[in-house]
């Protein structure tokens, strides 16, 4: 039996390391469909606040829109605080108009508190496919 483990160890000598040299080499890949950074597409959002009601981490706050939008009669939009968010995607699931844009971005460590405010507001002009 000792030989069996020895064989395993010898086989590993020729193998490249299983660990990645992160962040020097950014070769980290996630599975397709990974729950990463998400934000509301304001072209679709109707301001119903269901996502804010259901958020278990209280990470979503509804803020006033800077300009009136036709479909959004209430004039509010959700802002996700990525520092609080637990990425359960309840907001994505509960949204009646499928307004959330999901990405596989997971590198969010920063020296400022990251929110989805700016990126959400940019969807008003960009058509929501940012």
């Amino acid at each position: 039996m000792r030989l069996a483990l020895l064989r395993e160890i010898l086989a590993n000598l020729a193998r490249k390391p299983a660990t990645l040299k992160y962040p020097v080499a950014r070769e980290v890949t996630v599975a397709p469909g990974f729950r990463g950074k998400h934000y509301a597409d304001l072209v679709k959002c109707i301001g119903c606040s269901l996502c804010a009601v259901d958020c278990p981490a209280n990470a979503i706050t509804m803020e006033k829109l800077p300009q009136p939008l036709k479909q959004n009669q209430r004039g509010i939009f959700p802002v996700v605080d990525y520092g609080k968010c637990v990425f359960c995607y309840q907001c994505v699931f509960v949204c009646p108009v499928k307004a959330y844009i999901v990405t596989e971005v997971f590198e969010m460590a920063d020296h400022v508190i990251g929110t989805s405010r700016d990126i959400s507001l940019s969807t008003i002009k960009g058509g929501g496919s940012a």
Binding site: M1, R2, A4, L5, E8, I9, N12, A18, V30, A31, P32, G33, F34, R35, V53, D54, C55, P56, A57, V86, F87, C88, Y89, Q90, F93, V94
Partner: protein
């Protein structure tokens, strides 16, 4: 002979968990162990009362990182019973798949931890490397490698497509081979046998008296598994064996886990191959419950997990009581350490597969009256025991 009290924990490299074992030794021999908990209390049961049924789902998943899907399953199946909602068969199969993947990686983790504790770091690295395959599968199915969050009242949040199914089947093949290999290492390796066999023996009658659950119980020769005794999700339709052994020592507990991990691989394969057609994602989220109470139980990787949910019909639960397997396995087994060497204490403790974040929610431990003396390692080195 002088009796020396040695605190192991709450922060200790051998334990990996914030718990304190006050070990009283006479020479090298352990004469008394008292388990001191309370370092990881977060008030989750109160938090569940303060939040809606839907939010509670995610909070219950956060009780424990390793067994988050089983916690969600227990909560969700209890609440579904209160709401009178039946999940579709396809959703049940997907839930089962996620829970079994979780069991595989949990059992591989404790095997790795055990290898590290007995000083077998190579095996630890190898096990952790291969565990990553299972974590990837979980990420593929649910969208995250740790927190599955796939449960939803009345179904699941994500369906399984053909591409993912093929990938799962091919990865499971490799995982199965690796688990078989590690099982062989644990069965035949001289060092492991020396450290684990005949250490921390719990006899059959003792195991029943102490209300031990899970693989720890099954290693003492009692075939008790919620999956077969009280089937939930899709377990009533899936053929599987309940693994048990008669030795009752630390080694038998590890062997039961390996046997179970292999069974889990076959269950996971069955769920993927026989996945029923039909919808899995609910169209609307049920939000109102009838007044009443329900007991919901599930076989977590560490044993029987039990939720008692009380509803008075409002938007929030009235009370959610959680009883986790580690609670029984850690606190009821203080006597097992007695008579063993000091170096065996972490081995026995790890063989229960303890999960402290599960255990600690509401608990009061009465300290024995009398003077307690703590001896630092430096002082201990100077003490001449004779």
């Amino acid at each position: 002979m002088v009796i020396v009290e040695i605190p192991i924990g709450p922060q200790h490299p051998a334990l990996h968990e914030p718990i304190m074992l006050k070990v009283r030794t006479e020479g090298e021999e352990v004469v008394e162990v008292s388990v001191n908990t309370g370092y990881n209390h977060r008030g989750i049961e109160k938090l569940l009362e303060k939040n809606s049924w839907v939010r509670g789902m995610y909070i219950s998943g956060r009780v424990c990182g390793i067994c988050n899907a089983v916690h969600m399953q227990t909560y969700v199946q209890g609440v579904e019973k209160l709401m009178g909602v039946e999940p579709p068969p396809r959703a049940n199969y997907i839930r089962t798949l996620v829970m079994e993947l979780e069991r595989i990686h949990s059992h591989m983790l404790v095997a790795a931890v055990m290898a590290e504790i007995i000083g077998f770091d190579t095996l630890f690295m190898l096990l952790m490397r291969d565990r990553e395959r299972v974590m990837y599968l979980k990420e593929l199915v649910t969208g995250n490698r740790v927190h599955a969050d796939i449960h939803m009242l009345g179904g699941v949040k994500r369906d399984l497509d053909e591409v993912r199914r093929d990938r799962i089947l091919s990865e499971l093949k490799i995982v199965e081979e690796r688990i078989k290999y590690y099982m062989k290492v644990f069965e035949e390796d001289y060092t492991i046998m020396k450290r684990l066999s005949e250490v921390g023996v719990i006899r059959k009658s003792e195991a029943l008296r102490l209300s031990i659950v899970g693989p720890t119980l099954r290693a003492s020769g009692i075939k008790s598994d919620v999956r077969s005794d009280d089937p939930y999700a899709a377990y009533s339709e899936i053929p599987f064996n309940v693994v048990s052994r008669d030795e009752g020592d630390s080694w038998a507990r590890m062997m039961v886990r390996f046997g179970e991990a292999l069974e889990s691989v076959s269950i996971a394969r069955y769920t993927v191959e026989k996945l029923p057609q039909g919808p899995a994602i609910p169209k609307t989220i049920p939000r109102a419950t009838k007044p009443g109470e329900v007991i919901s139980r599930v076989e977590a990787p560490r044993g029987e997990l039990l939720y008692h949910i009380v509803s008075v019909g409002g938007a929030n639960p009235y009370r959610v009581k959680i009883r986790t397997p580690s609670f029984l396995n850690i606190l009821n087994t203080e006597k097992v350490y007695i008579g063993h060497r000091l170096a065996d204490v972490p081995v026995i403790f790890a063989s229960y597969d303890p999960c402290i974040s599960c255990t600690e929610r509401v608990m009061v431990i009465d300290e024995k009256s009398g003077k307690k003396t703590y001896v630092s390692m430096r002082d201990l080195a100077r003490v001449r025991v004779g």
